[in-house]
Symmetry: C2
Subunit: 216 residues, 2 copies
């Protein structure tokens, strides 16, 4: 595994393969051909073969892919083959919807903490998780290993809170704030941005193109 | 505008330019060089020049880009230069966090309706918006023009509700359900998926790579 170099483009497609393979496994499917997978996923069979070959997911002619093998290999590559703890910073609606969503458990991610700075929320339990104050975080982290912090705070607080997380040893930030975090990240800290505004603008563009085409 | 072909890669980067240019404008900046923009956005100046040239955003040597001109051009391309109405299907935490987020107003998107099928929620007002029942939607749409429906319903309901939206003339679906919508979309209907699970898996991968590198 360690020596394989997999292109960014393939990596970006792996979560989708993982979702489909998981569904197939849960439905008791043991083998699938690239043609069948291609029809399900609406990508070409050659794209699938090419993508899966990059990490040794070789199908056999007339026999297809072993669903569980592929699923496990992709899980290893994505690092979702073991349990991870996630905390959520912020306790608003977005934070609560993340805490509420159990689908992350399917690939080993469990929300174990909600942190906010508003004293009025202290001790309120949401979905079985008590809301803690941000200044309790350093102590919390000495007792339990946390892989990911989801950042769902107001924009004006984002930079300070992100810096606070990094100073306290958080290595992965899932950023839901509608801003790029412009701080110097240490090399071993990774950030994944979820820019909902950007996503809505992409949709807006697609809509504009479709409208224009309809008028022609 | 209509005849320009802009690559998907450039389009995917435009929302980020739009965000930065909007911030600059609000801070009273009138002109910016590709070098300055490059430092702010942490992409190369040549990438910026190349991206902006594709739609005629020519900077002048020693003079830079006109911030407002660029902003307006990108707004036109993305279709965010006029007001759009958005409705949200579902009234759970995610739906509420979307209804709560006023940042979409910055580029002309306004949430004007929340729809659910749970009679217990009927008439409850969230953020000034009354929750309506899904079967009221067809009538609602005869009175008001809706550009986008954000889909935030449970997974098992996603396909039926999406079909219902399309049958009632919705042309753009912003899909927050953690599933690909496997229905036959008419050609003039566009869908943008927000797969949070996929995003978390990408982060998980980056984290795995960073950990491996730290061990070497």
């Amino acid at each position: 595994m360690d020596d394989r170099v997999i292109s960014k483009a393939v990596i970006s497609r792996l979560p989708r393969y993982f979702r489909y393979l998981g569904d197939l496994m849960r439905n008791g499917v043991e083998r699938i051909s690239s043609k069948e997978l291609s029809e399900m996923m609406k990508v070409t069979a050659s794209q699938i073969r090419q993508d899966l070959n990059t990490f040794g997911g070789f199908g056999q002619q007339g026999y297809g892919y072993n669903v569980k093998y592929l699923y496990d290999e992709i899980a290893k590559i994505l690092g979702v083959n073991h349990k991870h703890h996630m905390i959520i910073i912020g306790a608003g609606n977005l934070a609560r919807s993340l805490a509420n969503y159990t689908g992350f458990n399917n690939f080993g991610y469990y929300v174990i903490g909600l942190f906010d700075h508003n004293p009025a929320l202290k001790g309120i339990t949401f979905n079985g998780i008590p809301i803690r104050m941000l200044d309790e975080l350093p102590d919390f982290l000495t007792h339990i290993n946390v892989s990911v912090a989801a950042l769902a705070v107001p924009k004006h607080a984002a930079h300070d809170v992100a810096q606070f997380l990094i100073d306290n040893g958080i290595k992965a930030i899932w950023n839901f704030v509608q801003t790029d975090l412009e701080i110097e990240f240490p090399e071993n800290v990774v950030v994944q941005n979820v820019h909902l505004s950007d996503s809505l603008m992409q949709l807006s563009y697609a809509m504009t193109v479709a409208e224009r085409e309809a008028q022609q």
